[in-house]
């Protein structure tokens, strides 16, 4: 109808003010009607519906004028658009109130008694773990893989808590996240070429083959896990484990403990040697 309104600073200010006023008016009217409905508890009369339509139209006119400038609104199209928007909103409101709400209420009365909050938390942690692992497996960016690994580790730590293994949980966080993940990130950073496209550093190789292998593995293990008649304790106890673990390390599992420490020493020395020599050689060969 009319051309796009000019962006003259003086005219636009006024323009904006008018639109904002319209949006405010609509908002207020809608609010008033809503308050009336809630306070009185009656069904809305026709006047109320009209008032809502008016509010919607006013709001829409203001909104469109500010954000949808291309939309040319005249004296005829404005009420029509308003009616359309109002109709959509009324429909959505009907759906939410009359259809969805009773459904969810029904489910809630059926399921909620069985759902314990702890189960939900478990599922959340399990989901985080698996999602993190999936991210590690399928992400194209190596940094994203490392971050997903973080979530996987954290999820596993949460699962440990669920299993009453408090010390392992904390050890998991400390060592895995704090040590290994950091080490991984160091390695990633140290082995990056400058100018390298990060997206291309983590390309997959024969993804279907690997996926098949993984599918086979998970199928077998899940089948075993579900079908095997595990002899489980009914109400497992949640004792603190730090003390008993310490005792166990120094009595029953003393030898593995000492050997583990030797292994750590060897790993320490070895990794230093492995990583160090190469650097020396390249510096020697540098011109």
């Amino acid at each position: 109808m009319a051309a796009v309104p000019p962006r003259d600073p003086r005219q636009s200010l006024l323009y904006v003010l008018w639109r904002l006023a319209a949006m405010g008016t609509g908002f207020l009217v809608a609010g008033g009607v809503a308050l009336y409905r809630i306070r009185s508890g009656h069904e809305l009369p026709g006047a109320g519906w009209f008032a809502l339509w008016f509010a919607t139209t006013a709001f829409f006119w203001g909104f469109a004028g500010l954000f949808l400038r291309r939309l040319a609104l005249g004296p005829v199209s404005t009420p029509l658009f308003g009616a359309a928007v109002f109709g959509v909103l009324a429909f959505l409101g009907y759906l939410a109130g009359q259809v969805a709400a009773p459904f969810f209420a029904m489910i809630g009365t059926r399921v909620l008694p069985f759902v314990k909050p702890s189960d939900l938390v478990f599922y959340a942690f399990a989901g985080m773990t698996i999602a993190g692992a999936a991210g590690t497996a399928f992400s194209r960016n190596i940094i994203y893989s490392a971050w997903s690994l973080l979530f996987a580790f954290m999820g596993v730590a949460g699962l440990y808590i669920f299993l009453g293994a408090d010390f392992p949980a904390v050890a998991q966080v400390l060592i895995y996240v704090g040590g290994i993940l950091v080490l991984i990130l160091f390695a990633i950073m140290l082995t990056k070429q400058i100018g390298e496209d990060p997206k291309l550093t983590n390309v997959h190789l024969a993804l279907p083959v690997g996926a098949a292998l993984g599918a086979a593995a998970v199928a077998m293990l899940v089948y075993m896990a579900v079908m095997a008649p595990w002899k489980t304790v009914d109400n497992p106890r949640f004792d603190p484990t730090s003390g008993p673990l310490g005792v166990a390390f120094l009595t029953e599992y003393l030898l593995p403990f000492e050997i583990a420490s030797v292994v750590l020493l060897a790993a320490l020395v070895g990794s230093v040697i492995i990583a160090r020599k190469e650097i020396k050689e390249t510096t020697d060969s540098a011109p």
């Binding site: 698996i130 669920f162 990633i188 993984g214 896990a225």
Partner: protein, 104 residues
């Protein structure tokens, strides 16, 4: 929906294991492969601890094992990443598709 029991944890462990395998087999980045290895070790750990909790909570065999696994995973990650650095020094890349000097 059942209440959370041993199979749930085992399934999680299985999923972690599978995803770890996928990572190991499909990744071209050497560090990515090590990440997959870590996932596998974690899966094993989850199994250990789950069994320990549900089968014999009085004794701590599973948890002890899981501690050891963590320790060794750390050692292995250290050495592995040192090797990755060495590979990087030699090949200037850690794309394992490029490090095929052993190929026939």
């Amino acid at each position: 929906m059942l209440s959370i029991g041993l199979p749930h944890f085992l399934v999680v462990g299985a999923a972690l294991f599978a995803l770890g395998i996928v990572t190991v087999v499909t990744r071209r980045n050497a560090v990515g492969i090590l990440m997959g290895v870590e996932l596998i070790l974690n899966a094993a750990n989850v199994n250990f601890v789950a069994f320990n909790h549900y089968v014999d909570p009085a004794r701590l065999t599973g948890q002890v094992f899981s501690i050891f696994v963590i320790v060794l995973a750390a050692a292995e990650a250290a050495v592995g990443l040192a090797i990755v650095l060495a590979i990087y020094q030699t090949f200037r890349t850690i794309d394992v598709a490029e490090t095929d000097l052993l190929r026939e």
